[in-house]
Structures are given as C-alpha cells and as structure tokens.
C-alpha cells in the first residue's frame, strides 16, 4: 500500500471510514469514537513504514485501533464483563417466535427496513460483553480471518472460535427477543 505520495489521499479516505466503524461499535460514545479514530489514523500514518505484511494491513490497523480504544475505555458505558454459558444461549423454541430477519438472498431493498435492521444489529452488538463484541466485530462485521482476529486480540484461534459462536448465539437471541417484544 505504502508505495508513493499519490497513495495518501485514498488511504485517508478508506481508512478513516473503516476505523470509525470499528471505534463506533467499540467506544460507546460518538465523541470518543471520533477521537479514537483520529488518533488511530495518525498513528497509522506515523508508523506505516513498520507494516511488515501489507496483505494484513486491515488487521494491523485494527490492532492499533483496539489499543487506543482500550486506553479510552470508559467502563460505565460498557456492557458488564461476563461470560456466557452455552446453555443460556440455546433456543427454547416453545415460546420463541421466529426471527424475521432476511437471509443473504433477500437483504431488504427498502432503505427504511435496511436502516431498521442495521439499528437492531447495532444495539445487539453494543450490548454484548466486550470479549464477545470484539470478536464478532472483527470476524463478522469486518470479516477478518480467525487467525488475524486471534493476532489482534492476543488470544488463540480456539478462543476466537468459541467467543464468536457464543457472540453469534447471543445476537441471534437478542434479535429474536426484539421481534418477540414488538
């Protein structure tokens, strides 16, 4: 990526948007998210000559963002730190109504519906305990690999897989109960 000066402008644009999406879901508050995104962007620009594996540039950027988010952490806005057991996340199909969210083949055309789905998933992700949110964010929202995610979070790939599964189960449950509550 870091070949010459002409790469500057596109690099600012694309990474500002990506970094902000990450910090928005991680920091909890808009002003924190903005601030952390700017700090991350600056750090990325100051140190891009240290990037050793250009093919993993996104993972590298998110690792920097994660560290700034940790520094900024305001405990009060975070969901409580806790671990899910598999049992509490499994469905009880008796009372649970079906989750009416579109599958891949039918993402809603309607901007309103799309916006509503977006808002629902945002709330559900924000309410996840941090250890699950960070994994869901990197694996499912940013679609990084298990190995990149493990590297960013300093945990093993097995831990990533386990947290991802529980995080996904919790999201499914949250979305299902949202539908039920309506």
């Amino acid at each position: 990526m870091a070949g010459d000066a002409s790469a500057f402008e596109p690099f600012v644009q694309s990474f500002q948007a990506k970094i902000f999406q990450y910090t928005w879901l991680t920091c909890g508050q808009r002003e924190d998210a903005e601030e952390v995104a700017q700090e991350t962007l600056l750090k990325v620009f100051e140190s891009f000559d240290q990037l050793r594996e250009p093919e993993h540039v996104r993972a590298w950027v998110f690792r920097i963002a994660k560290n700034y988010c940790l520094m900024k952490r305001r405990r009060s806005v975070y969901a409580p730190e806790r671990e899910y057991s598999l049992d509490e996340l499994l469905p009880s199909f008796d009372g649970e109504r079906s989750l009416q969210i579109p599958d891949e083949s039918e993402v809603p055309e309607d901007a309103l519906l799309r916006g509503e789905l977006n808002a629902r998933i945002e709330t559900a992700i924000r309410e996840l305990p941090e250890i699950y949110r960070s994994v869901v964010l990197l694996r499912d929202v940013e679609e990084l690999s298990t190995s990149d995610t493990a590297g960013i979070l300093n945990v093993s790939e097995d831990v990533v897989k386990q947290r991802l599964h529980r995080g996904r189960l919790a999201l499914r449950k949250a979305l299902a109960s949202y539908v039920e509550a309506k």
Binding site: A5, F8, S98, L117, N118
Partner: protein, 105 residues
C-alpha cells in the same frame, strides 16, 4: 420417500434432543466451513429431518448476515485542516524512512 407416520417416541422435543444440542454447539464451525466433510455430512443428515434445527440454522445465518451488512450510521467528521497537515507530514516522514531502509538493505 414414503410418508411416515409421526414417531412420538423419538419426536424431537423442541430442539432439546441431545443431538440437536450437540449440533447447536458446532453450528458456527459448520457455517464457517471449518468442519471435516464427515462431520458436515452428519450434521446435514440430522438437520434434513429436524425442523427445530432448520429453524435455528436459518436464524443464526440470518443474524450473521446482518452483521456482515452492518454499516455505521452517518459519517465520521471530516478530517480537518490541522489533522490533514499532521497526517501529510507523518506520511512524508514515514516514506522517507522507508526509502532510507530500502537503500541500506
């Protein structure tokens, strides 16, 4: 396939069958294509005949898709002149260091 009468003895209890629970526990690996072919085949054979599992797979896949499609509402504040200047400066310096390293190698 002939139509079979309902088999109440082996009826799934709303996805609480031990086999269903075992499958629920491995669904992410299944959906991410991380299971061995024989494990996939086993899961698919069970799911084909189990409405609670079908429903659960559909829901889980739906919520994963919703994450894939998530986009942050609104744009970040545009990079202001001062930050742009610092970014540009940092970029030039990093480029210069990179160039220097390349020459030393």
């Amino acid at each position: 396939m002939s139509h079979q009468p309902p088999d109440h003895e082996h009826d799934h209890q709303h996805g609480k069958d031990p086999l269903c629970l075992e499958i629920f526990a491995r669904l992410s690996e299944y959906l991410d294509g991380e299971l061995a072919a024989e494990d996939c085949a086993g899961i698919e054979a069970h799911i084909a005949d189990c409405p609670p599992c079908v429903e659960f797979v559909k829901q889980l896949r739906g919520s994963i898709e919703a994450s894939h499609h998530f986009r942050v509402p609104g744009q970040p504040a545009p990079v202001d002149a001062e930050l742009r200047e610092r970014l540009s400066q940092a970029w030039s310096e990093a480029l210069a260091r990179k160039h220097q390293d390349a020459q030393q190698d």
